[in-house]
Symmetry: C4
């Protein structure tokens, strides 16, 4: 056991160092699509650790990234707790959710969230599905999640809620476990950045892994602030659409700043050993 | 002192490594009941550390597992804070709560919670009693705890509340300190997975140690989400029984995934030294 | 600077090891009052670290213990953040708040909280004054803090609130900075275990350092549970006085169990370096 | 990468040790303005780490200090997450926000918050701008933030709210990105210690770096307590202006006590590696 354990630790560190190298390479010109994919896989391993460290993912939930080389493929971990994901866990799927080289690794049941969004949103390069705790209450009430903090500007306006009963009837197991449910969820997302799943969590998208991490973390932050503000009992002022759109563009442009922090925090507080 | 201290640390680590070994052995065919019990004791030590690390247990509360070799026996720590429990602290009791080999170790006063549930619920292999903080408010109000997040599906429907005044009168010390009170609590639990204790906490059951840990952690999670949702002030939609039952079965089937995470977290953030 | 820093660390560790030794000696017969005081000072250093680690004290607040050798004296740190207190910081005062051997060390302004309680409550051996965050709201509203969790049984019934305006007028600096204010606070405490200070915090007492730590930590816990329960919106059931008194006695009798945990947590997560 | 990484760590430690040295020098007579500025830069690096460690700043927000040598200059980090700031990141600006020696380092977009406050408030030596989570709800409702805890006495009375729509119209990106907006914010601050920014955060000032850190941390604390108290549902009693002013002066006079704690906590829980 001790040896297997050490090996796992080593594999994790190797994956993270690979990310580091990838980051350094980021601004290098003439990067090939293959090199870009190596970088994306490295960032994907890190994103798993960051989203766990920031309390967005626990033992469940997942993050994926589209392949640069083949935009009809995407990368996602095998079925594993995000805080423990290493480069060896990352699998490649096509948009029919067939693994390219499974090697016995089990998939996440809800990978259809990812594939169906990639199909209809070519602008989306990365997807997070989480059980983000401050988000869930907004999915089970008729109080809409809206941008109230400028860090939540990317929500733009009221976030739609997907109730699986609309697409799957009233006796599902709540999971997005096939293409039909995934497609219905992607339709509810529409052109937005986030969609809530009733009694379940959310799906958030971004133009890169770093952006989807930014959006997932500040969707939770915005939900916490909104719940607190509503409870104060006075009149509540939200961002209007112009404000939300403009600050969203600014925040997206400085994503490297929080990413550097989150990477450091995740590495220094690593939950695997 | 320094020597006793180091010895305790050593004993703790030895217990945890034993768990690791047990885990590796888990899928080996032809495991004897004795080997199964070694594994259960190892998982029980880990469950103590995990439930403390996840904030379900503090200096109080306890977790037990039924013996595979003798289903009328169960294992539980001596009276000690769960975060500090080592293999040397685990005691074996019969269902009349007589220790098999006490060696001077003090029992938990409320061990009757465990024995009386094991008596009437042969399907139950493990029990947690906790003062889970988000749970307690639902035991002192007439607002029922219900499955609102799909991770709380195992609650199935409204969780019953045991008020000790019904069985013990209005001047008890609030504790389940004898068979009669334990039996009354077990009756209130019925065929369910959780029962609340008014002004006190809860008892949660599972078909294995890993499952009872899953249930204890997500009972707290579900309670937190429900409280937040109720406070948002709108109409609240809960899981219906079909949804709750189905997702409960799915979540139970993937218990190894969060267990791997919780084990890593508990070991990397160990509170004993 | 590096040298002074290392010395402070050394002094802190020396203080904590002294505590360990004292604990081992605890059940030894024929302990002299001097030996008992050495033990109390050791526990006092630990109590400072524990209360900081548990979030009851931050940079402010303090804990004291009565002298066994001279019950008209008490021990308390010089004016320093509790998480950083070492044995070298502990000062001895008489009940007129004159330091026995100040050696240039500055006192806490509000030490009168301690001396005035010791004067009128011979049963009290230890006092905590804190800005415990969940407690403060109950001191500024007319909603009383009451035992709602069995771990808060020691509160017995509604906790009195001391408004400094009653004793000091409406233009004080809010602090218990003299004997008169201390005496008025002690009178409001009466025979109880806790008293709230409006817009400020609380004072909690115990029959030993370990007990006052138990009371301070679970006063905060009980306040958090009560606030949550009240917000659920239904009818709330509190412990009655018989229940509260009986469970308080039981909890006091097992104080060594959580103390062992808190000591380990404080030492393993030490905030000084 | 590994080498760059190690260098960054080294630079961070060098910055922090410099602070330590500066602290020792603090009470030395005849300190020159140059020596004072070295000390201020050291404290500024620490303040960045402290405010991140205490949850006041995340990847965004900033803290600055006025130059002692040239009171029309101020020091602030380049655009970087506060937890990662080292001495090498600190830049000097004049009050027209021109960098003295940029060396390619990028500025914070919202540095105008700092310069415009320094222009009109000669008593202010340090400024924090944060997205302090408990503060934001008070900026989006008509429920005023007021001193309710004696640690929040420095707020004195109702804290003004700056709505950027008043000065910038209803289609800004929410940021204080030029002199005009900075001046309008400084005007709203007036002679106070804090001002809220609608849908954004706050700006807090102090007579030194240590004081602005004290104010930023306890503004958040006071907001949390006030929100909790308001939700209990009874009548709420706030500090009156005499009480608030007097305790503010006392708390300011003991700023070294919490600063010593926060410094230790930030160093022992450092988020960079």
């Amino acid at each position: 056991m001790a040896k297997r354990f050490n090996f796992a630790t080593f594999a994790a560190l190797a994956g993270l160092l690979a990310c580091g190298t990838a980051s350094v390479a980021q601004n290098t010109p003439a990067k090939t699509a293959e090199e870009e994919d190596v970088e994306r896989v490295g960032d994907l391993v890190l994103a798993n650790h960051i989203l766990a460290d920031q309390g967005i993912l626990d033992g469940f939930g997942h993050v994926s990234v589209r392949s640069a080389k083949n935009p009809n493929h995407y990368f996602i971990s095998r079925s594993r707790a995000p805080a423990l994901v290493t480069a060896a866990d990352i699998m490649e799927y096509d948009l029919d959710d067939r693994p390219i080289d499974a090697r016995g690794r089990n998939p996440y049941v809800e990978r259809f969230i990812h594939s169906e969004i990639y199909k209809v949103r070519p602008d989306v390069q990365a997807v997070v599905h989480s059980h983000s705790p401050a988000i869930i209450p907004f999915g089970v009430t008729d109080v809409p999640l809206r941008p109230i903090s400028h860090m939540g500007g990317f929500l733009i306006k009221e976030v739609p809620v997907f109730d699986i009963r609309e697409a799957g009837g009233d006796a599902t197991d709540m999971l997005i476990r096939n293409k039909e449910l995934g497609a219905a969820l992607a339709a509810k997302l529409g052109k937005g950045t986030a969609v809530l799943l009733r009694g379940h969590g959310d799906a958030v998208v971004g133009q890169s892994i770093k952006h989807v991490v930014l959006h997932a973390i500040y969707a939770e932050f915005n939900a916490r602030i909104e719940a607190e503000a509503l409870r104060l009992g006075g009149k509540v002022e939200f961002l209007n659409e112009a404000e939300a759109s403009k600050i969203a563009a600014v925040n997206d442009s400085v994503v490297e700043r929080p990413w550097e922090l989150w990477k450091n925090q995740a590495l220094s507080r690593s939950q695997s050993r």
